[in-house]
Amino acid sequence: MNDNIMTLKYCVSPEDFTRAGEASSDTKNKLKKMGVPPEVVRKVSIALYEGEINMVIHANGGEITVDITPDKIIMILKDIGPGIKDINKAMQAGYSTAPDAIRALGFGAGMGLPNMKKFSDEMDIQTIIDVGTTVTMIVNL
């Protein structure tokens, strides 16, 4: 087990899509200030931003916890949304259940989960229909 250097916690609001990304933005700034290598900051930023957008689009918001340890960054995104019906489909590039209003804003291309997997070193999804989804992503330092 590693000692945590820092834990960041955010509440993701479901109400205002224009605010989606604030948690990712704050995490990015804090990691940069801590002197985390730019490539790691980039991977965390993109993976977390995609996840945060997903929480707003699909899950009525939720909670994000970012644990910074000496050798990895662990992101836990927990929501009490509808759950993911078919994870295999959701992981397919191009598959999307996002509504038209979200597509009009430039999202919903079906790249969210594939991109989160691409930019994290480990990703785990626990989902229960009508209970919620917890996505854990790890980026190694």
Partner: protein
């Protein structure tokens, strides 16, 4: 390519970030789908888009995009520009379409990054 060269080539106006025009972009991408932009990552790049909501600037921030060019004469709202200003992102506006603006920059030597 310097951002001031981009501005001149596209006959663009500067909506915010006048003091960033001496910065250099090494690559560019053009998209109205932010999800696609997030797949293609490059350092110090430029984004051409017709989207003008705040998420464009958030996406730019996550990818360290230094300049967003609004094509087809689009002008984003004040909140979006304020977000760009806070994040040190230069925002230009051109009347050219995405295709023409991209072609002009490509002809002048600017290229897409890896995978773009």
């Amino acid at each position: 390519m310097l951002l001031k060269e981009v501005k001149e080539l596209l006959n663009a106006s500067v909506l915010t970030g006048e003091d960033h025009l001496e910065r250099q972009t090494h690559s560019a991408c053009g998209a109205d789908l932010l999800s696609d932009v997030l797949v293609h990552v490059n350092n110090q790049s430029l984004l051409l888009t017709g989207l003008c909501n705040p998420q464009v600037m958030r996406t730019a921030e996550m990818l360290d995009i230094i300049c967003v060019v609004m094509v087809r004469g689009k002008i984003p709202d004040e909140n979006t520009l304020e977000l760009a200003k806070e994040r040190d992102i230069c925002v230009l506006a051109t009347n050219y379409t995405m295709f023409t603006a991209s072609g002009i920059l490509y002809s002048a030597g600017l290229r897409g990054g890896t995978g773009a």
